[in-house]
C-alpha cells in the first residue's frame, strides 16, 4: 500500500466503522479500534524503510497552481503517525466504554469525529505540500470544534467550541497568508524543497511578514501566549477527546510546523529568540495557572500548555541537541499526559466529581487507575527510570548548549519544579489523600477504559529502562529529519554526573517542597483575583464583542431596509472607486477621443433614452415611471442593434419586456400614485449621487474608447468558433462551449436567486394569510 491508499482506507474506515460498531454491543470498542490498530501496524512496518530514506508519493492535484498532493513520510512524520494511530487505538477503545451509557447514535457520532480527526491528523503530518497541509490543518480545527461542542446542550460547551474554532481557524487564515508568501518567495510549496534551500526566504524582504503569519498560525494551534486561553476552555470536550486532541496530538501541530520550518528559521536568529520569549512566557503563565486551577482536567490542561511552551522554546534554541530534546519530549509527553487524562476521565466518570480538592482515598476503589497515574506522574516529574527523565536531561542539555542558556535554564527549572509538584499532587491527592467528604463511586474500572492507561504507563517505563527500543528506530530519524542534517544521537538513561543531572535534582527537590505546601500555595494564589483579569480570555471577549458591534452598526447603517439607501450606497461606492481610479490614472482626465461622424438615427434613439430617464425620475405616477424606464431600456437595445450586437439587443428586448410584465404584477398591489417618501433635501442628495455616477461612467467610457482596442480575443474566437465549437454564432459558442463552466455557474446563481425570491414571496403571503386569520 502507498501512503495515499492508507489515508483513503483511514477515511473510508472512519466513516463506516462507527456505525458498524454502534450495532455491535460489547464488541463496539474493539471493532472501532481495529481501524487505528491496523494503521498503527502499517506505520510500524515502515520504520526500517523510513530509517534509510523518506517514503514519498506525488499525486497531481491542481497542477496549474503548482499544488500537488505530495505525501512524505520521514522520521518526524512517522513518530507523529505512530502516536496518532497508537494513542488513537486506545482512545477509540476508551471512548466506546466512556460513552456506553449514551444513545447509539451519539456513540457512533463521537467515534466518527474521533476517527475522522485521526485521518485529518495523519494527512497533516504526511503532507509535503504546504497548501495541502493547510487544508488538513483546518480540518483538524473543524473536528476539534465538533468535539469540544459535543455536549451541545451545554451552553458553556458551545461557547468553548466557538472560541476554539475562532482562535485556531482564525490563526489558520494567518498561516495560509504565510504559506502563500512562502510559496511566492521560494517558488515552491514543497516543505522538503523549502527546507533544503532556505536562501530565497531568508533573503526575502517579506521574511518578517512570513514569520509573523506562520507564528500566529502555530501559536493559535499550540495555545501559546497570547492565545493560551482557549485550550483550558476546550476541556469541555468529553475526556477521550481531550486526551487525544487537546493533549497528545492536535495541539502539537503548531510545534510540528515550527519544527518542520526550523531549518529555514535557523538562518534568522531573531526568530529563535522570539520563540524562546513566547515559549517562556507561556510556560510561566501556564505554571502559575496550573497551581491555581480547581478542576482536575484544568490542571492537566494548564500543564499541557506549559509543555507546549517548553516545546516552542526548545525549537527556538540553537544546536542539534534541541532537536533530540524536542522529539524526546513529544514522545514522553504524549505517553504520560494521555495516561493522566485517561485516568482523570476514569475518576470523573466513576465519581461525577471534577474538583481536585474534593477527591481523596480512591486508591482502594480504583487500584489500577491509581497505579497507572502513579507511573505516569513519575514520568511527568522526570524521575528515573522513566522516559520523562531522559527527555528532561536532554531538555536541560539543549538549554545549556544554546546561546540563550541563562534565561532558558531559569525558566526551565522554575516551570519544571511546578510540573513536579503538579505531578505529585495529581498522583497522591485523589488516590492516597484524605477526602473532605465521603466519595461515592458509581462503578468500578471498566476493561475498555483501563487498558489504555496501563499500556501507555508501562510503555513509558519500558522506554525509560531500555531506551534503545526507541532510540534508533524513532528518536534518531525524527531528530535528524527536523535538524535537516545527520548527526550523532545518543538517547540513553544514564549520562554520568553532568550539570543536567544536577539541574534535574534541583528541580525534583524544589518540586517536592512545592507539592508539600501545595494546599496553602493553591489557596493563596486562588485568592489573587488579579490573575483572572490578566490571564483569562478577556481580550478574546473584547475583540469578539467589538467585531459584533461593528457588524451590527454597519448592518443598521447600510441595510436599513430602505431600497433607496441600498441604491445610494452602491452608486456612491462605485462612484468613489471609479473616481479614485480615474484620478490616479495617467494622462488627461478627458482624453481626446477624436470626433466621429454624427449618426442622426443614433441621436434620436439617445434622445428617447434620456427622455425616458427624466420622466421616470420626476413623475409621481408609478405606472408612468415603469413605462418610461421601459422606454430607456428599449432605446438601449436599439443602440446595441444599430452597433452590430443582435444577440445583446435581443436579450435586452426580452429582459425589458419581462421587466415590465413582472413589475406590473407588483404594481397591481401598490397605489398607482406614490406618496413621495423622500424630502426635498434627500432628493438633492440622490440627484447629486446620480450625477456624479453618470459623470464618472462617462469619463471612464471615454478612457476605454481612447485606449487601442485589444482584438486578440475577438480574433481568437472568430477563428476558432466554427472549427472547435462548430457554431457560427460566436456569442452563443462562447456561452455554451468555451466558457460553459462560467455559464453553468451563472445559471446556478439565477436558479438560487429565483429560489430565494420564491421562498420570500411565500413567507410573505403566509404571514399575511395568518394575519387575516384565514
Amino acid at each position: 500500500m502507498d501512503l495515499s491508499t492508507v489515508l483513503l482506507v483511514s477515511l473510508v474506515g472512519a466513516v463506516i466503522a462507527p456505525f458498524v460498531a454502534a450495532r455491535a454491543g460489547v464488541l463496539a470498542g474493539p471493532l472501532a479500534a481495529a481501524l487505528p490498530a491496523i494503521l498503527f501496524a502499517w506505520f510500524f512496518a515502515q520504520i526500517d524503510a523510513v530509517g534509510t530514506a523518506p517514503i514519498v508519493q506525488v499525486l497531481p492535484w491542481v497542477p496549474s497552481l503548482g499544488i500537488d498532493l505530495t505525501f512524505r513520510l520521514d522520521g518526524f512524520s512517522l513518530l507523529f503517525a505512530l502516536l496518532i494511530t497508537g494513542i488513537g487505538t486506545l482512545v477509540t477503545l476508551y471512548a466506546a466504554s466512556y460513552m456506553s451509557a449514551k444513545p447509539p447514535f451519539a456513540r457512533a457520532q463521537f467515534l466518527l469525529y474521533i476517527l475522522l480527526f485521526m485521518t485529518a491528523m495523519l494527512a497533516t503530518v504526511t503532507a509535503d505540500n504546504l497548501v495541502a497541509l493547510f487544508v488538513f490543518w483546518e480540518m483538524t480545527s473543524l473536528l476539534s470544534f465538533l468535539l469540544v461542542g459535543f455536549q451541545s446542550e451545554d451552553a458553556k460547551a458551545r461557547k468553548a467550541a466557538l472560541q476554539s474554532l475562532l482562535v485556531t481557524a482564525g490563526g489558520g487564515l494567518a498561516l495560509l497568508a504565510g504559506i502563500i508568501l512562502i510559496g511566492v518567495e521560494a517558488g515552491t510549496f514543497s516543505l522538503a524543497a523549502i527546507t533544503a534551500n532556505p536562501a530565497p526566504i531568508l533573503e526575502s524582504p517579506l521574511l518578517p511578514a512570513i514569520v509573523v503569519c506562520v507564528l500566529i498560525g502555530a501559536f493559535t494551534k499550540s495555545a501559546q501566549f497570547p492565545f493560551h486561553f482557549w485550550l483550558p476552555n476546550a476541556m469541555k470536550a468529553p475526556t477521550p477527546a481531550s486526551a487525544y486532541l487537546h493533549s497528545a496530538t492536535m495541539v502539537k501541530l503548531g510545534v510540528y510546523l515550527l519544527a518542520r520550518l526550523d531549518p529555514v528559521f535557523a538562518g534568522a536568529p531573531w526568530v529563535g529568540a522570539t520563540l524562546v520569549a513566547f515559549g517562556g512566557v507561556t510556560m510561566l503563565i501556564a505554571a502559575l495557572q496550573a497551581l491555581r486551577a480547581v478542576e482536575l482536567k484544568a490542571v492537566l490542561a494548564f500543564s499541557t500548555v506549559a509543555s507546549l511552551g517548553t516545546l516552542v522554546m526548545l525549537i527556538g534554541l540553537d544546536g542539534p541537541v534541541s532537536s533530540v530534546a524536542v522529539v524526546g519530549f513529544i514522545l514522553a509527553h504524549a505517553l504520560y499526559k494521555a495516561t493522566l487524562f485517561f485516568c482523570a476521565g476514569i475518576v470523573i466518570h466513576a465519581t461525577h466529581e471534577t474538583k481536585l480538592r474534593s477527591l481523596g482515598g480512591l486508591a482502594a476503589l480504583l487500584p489500577v487507575t491509581a497505579g497507572a497515574t502513579l507511573l505516569a506522574s513519575f514520568s511527568m516529574a522526570g524521575l528515573p527510570p522513566f522516559i520523562g527523565f531522559i527527555s528532561k536531561e536532554y531538555l536541560f542539555e539543549a538549554k545549556l548548549e544554546s546561546s540563550l542558556d541563562t534565561i532558558a535554564v531559569i525558566i526551565g527549572v522554575l516551570v519544571n519544579a511546578v510540573m513536579v509538584a503538579i505531578a505529585g499532587v495529581l498522583a497522591l491527592k485523589p488516590f492516597f489523600g484524605r477526602a473532605k467528604k465521603p466519595i461515592h463511586v458509581s462503578h468500578g474500572e471498566q476493561p475498555g477504559m483501563i487498558i489504555g492507561p496501563i499500556l501507555l504507563a508501562v510503555t513509558g517505563v519500558a522506554f525509560g529502562l531500555v531506551p534503545s527500543l526507541v532510540s534508533y528506530a524513532l528518536i534518531t530519524p525524527a531528530a535528524i529529519a527536523i535538524h535537516g542534517a545527520p548527526f550523532e544521537v545518543s538517547f540513553k538513561l544514564w549520562h554520568g554526573f553532568t550539570p543536567m543531572l544536577a539541574l534535574s535534582g534541583l528541580v525534583v527537590a524544589l518540586g517536592a517542597v512545592l507539592a508539600w505546601f501545595w494546599d496553602p500555595i493553591h489557596l493563596a494564589l486562588r485568592r489573587r483575583r488579579v490573575f483572572d483579569e490578566v490571564f483569562s480570555d478577556r481580550g478574546y471577549e473584547v475583540v469578539l464583542e467589538r467585531t459584533l458591534a461593528l457588524a451590527r452598526w454597519s448592518t443598521n447603517r447600510l441595510q436599513n431596509g430602505d431600497l433607496r439607501v441600498y441604491g445610494a450606497v452602491v452608486a456612491a461606492s462605485v462612484t468613489g472607486l471609479l473616481a479614485y481610479g480615474l484620478m490616479s490614472g495617467e494622462g488627461p482626465l478627458l482624453p481626446n477621443v477624436g470626433a466621429e461622424p454624427l449618426r442622426p438615427y443614433l441621436v434620436v434613439v439617445c434622445a428617447l433614452i434620456v427622455a425616458g430617464c427624466v420622466v421616470a425620475a420626476v413623475v409621481p405616477s408609478l405606472v408612468t415611471a415603469i413605462v418610461a424606464v421601459g422606454l430607456s431600456g428599449y432605446g438601449l437595445a436599439l443602440v446595441f442593434l444599430l452597433n452590430g450586437g443582435p444577440d445583446l439587443a435581443l436579450t435586452q428586448f426580452s429582459v425589458e419586456t419581462l421587466f415590465v410584465v413582472i413589475v406590473t404584477a407588483v404594481l397591481l398591489k401598490l397605489p398607482t400614485v406614490a406618496r413621495s417618501s423622500r424630502t426635498p433635501g434627500e432628493r438633492w442628495v440622490d440627484a447629486t449621487v446620480a450625477t456624479c455616477f453618470a459623470a464618472c461612467v462617462l469619463v471612464a467610457t471615454l478612457w476605454i474608447k481612447a485606449k487601442p482596442f485589444n482584438t486578440q480575443l475577438t480574433e481568437y474566437f472568430a477563428v476558432t468558433s466554427v472549427p472547435e465549437g462548430f457554431g457560427r454564432n460566436v456569442v452563443n459558442v462562447i456561452l455554451v462551449d468555451f466558457r460553459a463552466l462560467d455559464t453553468f455557474g451563472e445559471i446556478a446563481v439565477v436558479a438560487f436567486a429565483a429560489l430565494g425570491a420564491w421562498a420570500l414571496l411565500r413567507s410573505g403571503s403566509a404571514i399575511r394569510r395568518t394575519g387575516k386569520g384565514a
Binding site: 426580452s654 457560427r728 454564432n729 455554451v736 439565477v750 436567486a753
Partner: protein, 135 residues
C-alpha cells in the same frame, strides 16, 4: 381586469411565443439566439397566459412546478458536461457526433438546460406575484 380581446387571443399568442422561443433556442448556435434569450421569450409567453387566463391555467399548461423546471434545467446542464469527463477528462468539454446524417452535440443539452433554468426561475416567482393578485 379581464379583457375579452386579450383572453381570446392569449392562447394563440402563447403558442406563437412558445414556438418562437424554441426556435430562438435551437437556432442559437449559428444565428442570434440561444438558451438565455429563448428562455426569456418563453417566460414572457407564460406570463401572457397568466395575465389573460389566470395563474392556474398557466400552471396547468406548464405541467411541472416552476422550481422543478429550474432544477431540471440545472441537472441537464450538469449532465451535458459528463461526456466531456469520460472522453478527455475535462468537465463541460462538448462532444459532437452525427446520427443518421443529423449533427448532434451535447451543447444543445446544455442550452436546453439554460432555457429551462431561465423559464423556471422567472415563472417561479412571477406565478406567486400574480397569484397574490388574484386573491
Amino acid at each position: 381586469m379581464r379583457s375579452l380581446i386579450l383572453s381570446s387571443v392569449a392562447r394563440i399568442f402563447f403558442a406563437i411565443m412558445l414556438a418562437g422561443s424554441v426556435w430562438v433556442l435551437l437556432r442559437g448556435h449559428n444565428e442570434p439566439g440561444g438558451g438565455f434569450i429563448g428562455g426569456l421569450v418563453g417566460a414572457a409567453g407564460f406570463a401572457t397566459l397568466a395575465l389573460a387566463a389566470g395563474v392556474e391555467a398557466a400552471r396547468r399548461t406548464l405541467v411541472l412546478h416552476p422550481v422543478v423546471v429550474m432544477g431540471l434545467g440545472l441537472f441537464l446542464a450538469f449532465v451535458s458536461g459528463i461526456p466531456g469527463i469520460l472522453t478527455d477528462a475535462s468537465f463541460l468539454t462538448h462532444q459532437w457526433g452525427t446520427l443518421a446524417g443529423v449533427k448532434l452535440s451535447t451543447t444543445i443539452v446544455f442550452d436546453v438546460g439554460v432555457y429551462l433554468v431561465v423559464v423556471g426561475g422567472v415563472l417561479s416567482f412571477m406565478f406567486r406575484l400574480y397569484a397574490e393578485d388574484a386573491r
